[in-house]
């Protein structure tokens, strides 16, 4: 047969038809869909076996238990440890994205001395040299006192004549005042919210950014189910707690003292109503309820992003608690035993005289607590050295600063002694779930190397931990809660205790039987001034756990920029009506100034904002200026500040 053009054409045609009838071309076309999906710049997660491990959240002192999901590339997800005694299956929002913190673009990877990158060893030697030179003018700022490493800091500071200081945390301020009035040592009182019928918060954001999330969430859930405890919030702005509370009393800024004095019966209702801006009826009603709806208690302390209430007001609040019988009563302010083997809580940094320190070691490893930059700097003498143990590059650092890279969330060994507000002490520890980066020093390692450089002889972290465990077992107090099964065991056998703790258990002390406590309240000064009435006030907001010197958790953008649950850093949120009155339009660049400082931002209008208030985001980059403007470094400056705004 001769093969001509006709035959070839026929063959081609037949092949095309035959091919079209087979699945091959269709399958190929369909698969091309998959090819368009696999672009090289879209990352592919590493597949592999998935395990769950228990770890310790170190973003605040509460030390909630977390369940980390680990893949072959590391931790890829955080879940609450449902049975955790302190976390109780509840975590702060930012914890769910905290496993990304080790990869934050601002991660500090090298030690820095005087602006130059150096070997970590050299940096430690430099710190030791300056610490030696500073002598008594040196202090170590321990943000979470009561840890094992706190004991090491204590040893080092003591050996060289320096001191250990801590920050006045929101949960801490009211309790310390109460302890002072009652003549008790720091850390010996706690709130017994679980048995309370009514809780009055004076500016304290109980339902947001206060206490341990687990405890407050459980309390809130119980309130929804049983109607108890009743939350009453008195504050000068519509905080989230005010929005959620059963009753919210919006005070004139700075009139908290008048309110408390009126509730204590030390100020007549009429003038108090006039000063606070509340109706006399609501004032007298609240005063009545505080006494009749027992057990009730009053919480002060203020906002996390502010410096809290003035000392005098805190004393009034303590005295009011005594007056309504909350001190030493179940459902009130109860005694708790300090953790066995823990050193005494150090004094507050803000009580250290200004410019008195030649060297301040700020231990900021993985912590999420407010340490306003301005406060640290103010305590340092001219040319003083600020040493920072931090996982991240701070927003700003001075020429004399020493930066030492440290660990962050779920990295390295850590322990936690529980939230300050708790009625009982707790203790838990973890060896860390993620590997520690080569350049980073966990706090215990930092303390050990510093001690070595100073030739101070200290025990190792492990020895101290073992010693504390032994002390707890020896005291035969409290119970051990395991996360995995949720079972509870007596803390009687050291070996079993340690085994359980290594798997993420938590030791919980047993409560002290409430008994009458006495406090001297005669000396409390009840005079309440008449605050000025600013036309515009500034407040700061931030999701719990994100308020810190650390950069924000990357996914926190979902909370502020992308769902608007919180004010966006760099934005000034205000009611559209306020914007119109101020002649501002959305997107305008503005400068907000308060008596303490100023901060820049862009106007955002939000009908949810309260007229006459400027909400400033205090989370992540740029939050330092906001914190300063809010007077966070000034003791007792109050939760709101009179503000002025102008276009910039």
């Amino acid at each position: 047969m001769a093969i001509g053009r006709r035959e070839l054409l026929g063959l081609a045609g037949g092949a095309a038809v035959g091919g079209a009838l087979s699945p091959v071309p269709w399958k190929l076309l369909d698969d091309s869909a998959i090819w368009t999906q696999n672009w090289s710049w879209t990352p592919t997660p590493v597949r592999g076996p998935v395990t769950e491990k228990f770890g310790l959240c170190t973003l605040c002192a509460a030390g909630c238990g977390v369940k980390a999901r680990c893949g072959s590339a590391g931790v890829f997800g955080v879940a609450p440890a449902a049975e955790h005694a302190t976390g109780g299956g509840a975590l702060c929002p930012v914890v769910y994205g905290a496993h990304q913190l080790p990869y934050h673009p601002r991660r500090l990877r090298t030690a820095i001395v005087n602006g130059h990158a150096v070997e970590t060893k050299e940096a430690i030697a430099e710190v030791a040299r300056r610490l030696e030179a500073a002598g008594a003018k040196a202090a170590i700022l321990d943000e979470r006192p009561g840890r094992i490493v706190s004991a090491l800091y204590d040893r080092i500071a003591r050996a060289k004549g320096g001191t250990v200081v801590t920050l006045a945390q929101v949960e801490d301020r009211s309790l310390r005042t109460m302890e002072d009035l009652a003549g008790m040592g720091p850390g010996t009182l706690g709130y017994d919210f679980e048995h309370a019928a009514l809780i009055l918060s004076v500016g304290a954001p109980l339902l947001d950014s206060w206490g341990s999330t687990g405890r407050m969430s459980r309390l809130w859930s119980r309130r929804v189910e049983t109607g108890k405890p009743v939350f009453v919030h008195a504050g000068s702005h519509w905080s989230r707690t005010a929005q959620l509370a059963d009753r919210a009393l919006i005070l004139r800024p700075g009139s908290e003292a008048a309110l408390v004095a009126a509730l204590a019966g030390k100020l007549a209702i009429e003038p108090a109503a006039e000063i606070t801006g509340l109706s006399p009826a609501s004032l007298s009603d609240l005063a009545l309820r505080l006494r009749e709806q027992a057990p009730a208690l009053v919480v002060g302390g203020g906002e996390a992003a502010s410096s809290g209430l003035p000392e005098a007001t805190e004393r009034m609040i303590a005295a009011l608690n005594v007056a309504i019988g909350a001190l030493g009563r179940a459902g009130g302010i109860v005694m708790r035993r300090p953790l066995t083997g823990a050193p005494q809580p150090p004094q507050y940094l803000d009580r250290v005289p200004d410019h008195s320190l030649d060297l301040l070691v700020h231990e900021a490893s993985s912590a999420g607590i407010v340490a306003p930059e301005a406060l640290l700097r103010r305590k340092l003498a001219a040319k003083g050295t600020l040493v920072r143990l931090s996982a991240f590059l701070p927003e700003a650092f001075g020429p004399n600063d020493v930066l030492i890279p440290s660990t962050t969330f779920l990295e390295g060994a850590e322990d936690a002694r529980g939230a300050r507000d708790a009625a009982v002490e707790t203790w838990s520890y973890s060896d860390g779930l993620s590997s520690v980066p080569a350049s980073a020093l966990p706090p215990a390692e930092f303390a050990a190397q510093l001690a070595e450089a100073l030739q101070v002889k200290v025990e190792s972290y492990e020895e101290l931990r073992k010693a504390r465990a032994a002390a707890i077992v020896a005291a035969k107090r409290g119970h051990v809660y395991r996360h995995a099964g949720g079972e509870r065991a007596e803390a009687t056998d050291l070996e079993k205790f340690e085994a359980a703790m290594a798997e993420g258990a938590v030791w919980v002390d047993e409560p002290v039987e409430p008994g009458p406590l006495r406090a001297k309240i005669d000396a409390v000064d009840w005079s309440a001034g008449r605050p000025e009435q600013p036309s515009l006030i500034a407040v700061a907001s931030s999701p719990r756990g994100s308020l810190s010197v650390l950069p924000a958790v990357p996914l926190a953008s979902k909370l502020d920029r992308e769902t608007r649950l919180y004010a966006v850093p760099g934005e000034v949120r205000m009611n559209p009506r306020t914007a119109r009155e101020l002649n501002l339009r959305p997107g305008d660049s503005v400068l907000v100034s308060t008596p303490f400082g100023e901060t820049r931002g862009r106007v955002r209008c939000d009908a949810a904002a309260i007229p006459g208030q400027l909400e400033l985001g205090a989370c992540g980059d740029g939050s330092q200026l906001v914190l300063e403007a809010m007077g966070a470094a000034e003791p007792g400056a109050g939760p709101t500040q009179a503000a002025q705004i102008r276009r910039s």
Partner: protein, 254 residues
């Protein structure tokens, strides 16, 4: 999957009841959802309208002076049951209602990014990848291995953490069962006040059946959402019954 296997699996209608009185608007669900589903952290350009949010929490203001001033409303895909708006409009079957789970499935690998489903969704529960998702260097290590990151140009939405459903199915299969039972989506797990109850509307004994009186948003549209809400606050019920936004006078010009 053969036909016999299909019929032997109990059809479920997974859904949620969200208790608005319990929600404190903390946002834990939002971040847990983003982390679980490999949503990239917001780039500098991203805001509430151009980012990927499979789950959002709205702040509701009580228009009446009495009672609580604010409520927080978590909203994700409502998994509409009837004439699911997004399913019917998708030109290429990239959205389908799974009859066995009741979940509205989104197949990003088949999506061409026409965004018709987004205009069809009354709940604005869908997000579009306006650009390529990107993570800071090294952060790819934190990606959930069970979920493929989406590329730019495709639509995505909440699918009740389908990877967790698949894991539950696998776990059930190991035990010789075809029924994955009730699993836990990330937001449900993360909610500190247990405001979200996840369950099966087909199960008369399940948690959803016991959740009492519930309501849905935009019920008048007749799409029968499987995510429903509960609240003891009257103003929320009134607001939900009111379709469409009647703006307050002063907000109209916003």
């Amino acid at each position: 999957m053969s036909a016999t296997q299909k019929t032997s699996r109990t059809p479920r209608r997974y859904g949620m009841v969200i208790d608005l009185d319990r929600c404190t608007g903390c946002g834990a669900c939002v971040i847990a959802c983003a982390a679980e589903n490999n949503v990239a952290p917001g780039a500098a350009r991203e805001n509430d309208r151009n980012s990927i949010s499979l789950l959002r929490v709205f702040t509701l203001n009580n228009p009446t002076a009495a009672g609580r001033r604010t409520a927080f409303l978590p909203m994700m895909c409502m998994q509409c049951e009837h004439e699911t708006p997004c399913v019917t409009v998708c030109p290429q079957q990239a959205v389908e209602l799974d009859v066995l789970s009741g979940i509205v499935e989104q197949m990003p690998q088949r999506c061409l990014g026409c965004r018709y489903c987004m205009t069809a969704c009354p709940y604005h529960a869908r997000s579009f990848n306006w650009g390529d998702p990107s993570w800071p260097a090294g952060m790819e290590a934190t990606l959930n291995p069970a979920v493929a990151p989406r590329m730019r140009g495709v639509v995505e939405k909440c699918d009740f953490c389908q990877s967790r459903l698949h894991a539950a199915q696998d776990a059930a299969a190991v035990n010789g069962s075809l029924d994955p039972g009730i699993y836990t989506p990330a937001c449900v797990e993360a909610c500190p006040t247990q405001a979200i109850t996840f369950g099966d509307w087909n199960d008369p004994e399940g948690a959803l059946a016991k959740s009492g009186e519930t309501f849905a948003w935009l019920e008048g549209l007749g799409t029968q959402p499987k995510v429903r809400y509960r609240s003891g606050q009257n103003w929320l019920h009134e607001m939900a019954e009111r379709g469409g936004a009647a703006p307050a006078k002063e907000e109209r010009h916003g």
